[in-house]
């Protein structure tokens, strides 16, 4: 495997997150050169990733201007893409990876993979979606369907490429001069701010995110800083990029502290050195968080608004994620953040905070990958059970329904009352899906037998079955899988397609049995575990 091309047409956060996949690819194919296609404006994110030998770019802004202005011929856009593509096609690729999984990257993959292998999703030359493996289907059709994905995207990518997780600090390139400067300067601050000879931990606080719904309000940041300043174990510092809008935010916050706070302003070239030399960071959902993960910098992530932490949250074990709601008071965020830092640094005598509205998770790993273990909230309730059971289902049964695997989660289901409620509801849902499934099978057979009402009955029952794709339950997963399989049926004759659907309906039946098997296994835990889990088990 000499030349691998990874197509990532997303923004900085996804570019940095890709660093994990690149490391896995490099580990799997040690002698391969890995190149990346990004949009022009995000190239500087890819430049600092290790394992990238070259970067091809597409000028997104130019193409958008051309495509959306009547003064420019579409021929200009067609020509531009054709010329970009010719450059890429001049290399003999052994593998192309569709990382960003959107339409444009999928079209690109479809063209480039005509002469090489691919991973992810592509269109065949009949414009029908094809998946490189079942995990590509799961990623494209199941994990993206639910805000509360049971698997982190990093794990899904690893399963798609067939690689292993790589942990380490060298997934990002750092500049030796910047490293030395950051090391010296931050150590000076530690020494200066030490109390009774004990140096504080330097905590970088990322103050800005481009998405307001994910941002911390100024008073939330100020409350956090005040709390940390009162704690001799910590010294907070503001982190921002060298842009006017971010400086404004930093200055505004600093005015509340008589301009005594230190602001570290750094671009993507210098930021890795800063993150390596800080003791921890506190950040909303920003690209900085993904960079910190690549560098193994301890982190408390504050997830707000549309931030999908289960899909794209921090992945380094030992980090914390605070999922705040609109009702969460800023005092609660700062109290809980301090508590999380105390646990990261094993500080004794930590006061357990009053947690009323937010959910706190600790990042861990298990055999399925990144796992978010509840610390406050979301413990032993239906949402958490569904998260765990989904992991068991997808990780253990969906890919290989005949596999007999032991449940990996047992003590997590120890609340008998909630567990029973969960199992009953899920089994009821499975019963409803099974009814719709049997009705579809019956009418499918009627169609095959040429019975007059067959077509109408089939459409009706098929619609009822697919309606379960929208219902939040364990049963949703096999139905989504089924739908994806049906949507990607090749262009066969009507008879062949009806037969193919019958085959997939039987597969769905087997998958539903897998769901029952998982639920029965969970029910069977009853005899083994008798003590309920305690809250805040750190």
């Amino acid at each position: 495997m000499n030349n691998i091309l990874v197509i990532n047409l997303k923004r900085f956060g996804d570019i940095f997150m890709m660093g994990n996949t690149l490391a896995s690819l490099q580990k799997k194919y040690p002698s391969a050169n890995i190149s990346v296609i990004t949009f022009d404006e995000f190239k500087r994110g890819a430049k600092i990733l290790s394992n990238v030998s070259s970067i091809h770019t597409i000028n997104r802004k130019r193409l958008l201007t051309i495509a959306n202005n009547r003064i420019f011929s579409d021929g200009i856009a067609l020509n531009l893409i054709s010329e970009n593509l010719l450059e890429v096609e001049n290399t003999k690729w052994d593998l192309v990876v569709n990382y960003s999984n959107d339409k444009i990257s999928t079209y690109l993959t479809s063209v480039i993979s005509k002469r090489c292998h691919y991973k992810g999703v592509k269109f065949n030359n009949k414009h029908i979606v094809e998946y490189s493996n079942d995990w590509a289907l799961i990623f494209n059709d199941i994990l993206t369907a639910d805000f509360n994905s049971p698997f982190h995207f990093v794990d899904a990518y690893q399963k798609i490429i067939g690689g292993e997780h790589v942990q380490g600090k060298d997934l990002v390139k750092t500049n030796p001069e910047h490293n030395e400067t950051a090391f010296k300067n931050l150590n000076k601050i530690r020494a200066k701010e030490s109390v009774n000879g004990k140096e504080p931990k330097l905590i970088g606080i990322q103050i800005y995110t481009s998405d307001e719904s994910k941002s911390l309000d100024e008073y939330e940041v100020c409350a956090l800083i005040e709390r940390l300043l009162d704690n001799p174990n910590y010294y907070p510092m503001l982190l921002c990029a060298p842009f006017e809008n971010e400086r404004k935010v930093a200055n505004s916050i600093n005015e509340n502290f008589e301009n005594k706070l230190i602001t570290i302003e750094s671009d993507f070239l210098a930021l890795p050195s800063v993150l390596l030399n800080l003791d921890a960071i506190i950040t909303p959902d920003t690209s900085i968080k993904h960079m910190a993960d690549l560098l193994d910098t301890p982190m408390v992530e504050i997830s707000k608004g549309l931030s999908p932490y289960k899909k794209q949250g921090s992945i380094s074990p030992g980090n914390f994620i605070i999922r705040a709601t609109e009702e969460t008071r800023f005092e609660e965020i700062s109290e809980v953040s301090e508590y999380c830092l105390d646990n990261i640094f094993n500080h004794k005598g930590t006061t357990i905070p009053t947690v009323e509205t937010c959910i706190v998770k600790r990042v861990t790993r298990d055999q399925y990958g990144v796992m978010f273990e509840p610390v406050f909230g979301d413990i032993q309730n239906v949402d958490y059970f569904r998260y765990l059971a989904s992991r068991e289902l997808i990780g253990g049964f969906l890919i290989n329904p005949s596999a007999k695997s032991e449940l990996i989660y047992k003590k997590e289901f120890s609340n008998l009352k909630e567990r029973t409620k969960f199992i009953l509801n899920e089994k009821q849902e499975i019963a409803d899906i099974t009814r719709a499934l049997l009705s579809s099978l019956r009418s499918n057979l009627q169609l095959q037998d040429g019975i007059k009402a067959g077509a109408e009955n089939f459409l009706k029952s098929f619609d009822s079955l697919l309606a379960f794709c929208e219902r939040k339950s364990l049963g949703q997963i096999p139905v989504l899988y089924f739908r994806a399989k049906v949507e990607t049926l090749p262009n066969l004759s009507k008879t062949e397609n009806i037969k193919a659907i019958e085959h997939h309906l039987y597969n769905l039946k087997a998958h539903l049995k897998g769901v029952i098997s998982v639920l029965d296994s969970i029910q069977g835990i009853e005899a083994i575990v008798t003590k309920p889990m305690q809250e805040a088990t750190l």
Binding site: T65, F72, D74, S82, L85, L86, Y107, V111, T209
Partner: protein
């Protein structure tokens, strides 16, 4: 849009001694002091000129306003700026060049006496427009050649495949468009592609452009 009809054109001296063109009885600059008039006019655009090093000027006249624009751009950006001027009247342009020994400025491009449709086919001009230059219209020229400049500002390129193919450099791709999608608009081409039995590389490129169209013009990238 064809070029404006010029029924009458002569040069006269202003009160300050500077020459000014008179086209179809319209004085294109002040009959008293064209330089002072130009300074006052461009002063209104100073803040915009500080923000953009790419400027498109509609109307040349004898370039008094252009001199002011170049002066401010040099102050702000040194030599790092580009200016294009569109002047429909070739005679005025040629006289300007002769009278002022002009056209030496390396950052300046002048397109004179060119039909609007042909102008938009000019590749360098297209590249310049893609950078979204600041637009400054010389009022007297704009009013005189209103039809021409309005057609310039509201120009809509042809989306028929034969015209689209004009912009394709790769002969294989060009021939493919001409042979496969003859007489079709871009949208009709996309519909054809979506119902084809077998898709080619070129078809996927069309689908990519269609996808960019659906995204609309999105703002600055962050994060």
């Amino acid at each position: 849009m064809s070029l404006p009809v010029i029924s009458d054109y002569y040069i006269k001296d202003s009160k300050s001694g500077k020459p000014i063109p008179v086209v179809n009885d319209v004085h294109l600059h002040s009959a008293y002091n064209p330089e002072k008039e130009a300074q006052a006019f461009v002063d209104k655009h100073i803040e915009d000129l500080k923000k953009s090093n790419k400027v498109l000027v509609l109307g040349l006249g004898f370039g008094y306003h252009l001199s002011q624009i170049l002066y401010h751009l040099r102050r702000e950006f040194d030599s790092n700026f580009t200016v294009w001027v569109v002047e429909p009247n070739m005679s005025v342009y040629l006289d300007w060049r002769e009278l002022f020994s002009a056209d030496q400025e390396t950052n300046l491009n002048i397109v004179a006496g060119v039909d609007v449709e042909e102008l938009y086919k000019e590749k360098e001009f297209q590249t310049f427009l893609l950078d979204k230059p600041k637009l400054i219209a010389h009022p007297a020229s704009f009013n005189l050649y209103q039809e021409y400049f309005k057609s310039f500002l509201t120009f809509s390129t042809s989306d028929f495949s034969e015209d689209i193919a004009d912009y394709i450099h790769d002969s294989v791709f060009k021939n493919y468009i001409l042979e496969t999608f003859k007489g079709q608009t871009f949208d009709k081409t996309i519909n054809t592609i979506q119902t084809k039995e077998k898709l080619t590389r070129e078809d996927f490129i069309f689908l990519m452009v269609d996808e960019f169209k659906k995204q609309g013009e999105i703002g600055e990238a962050h994060e």
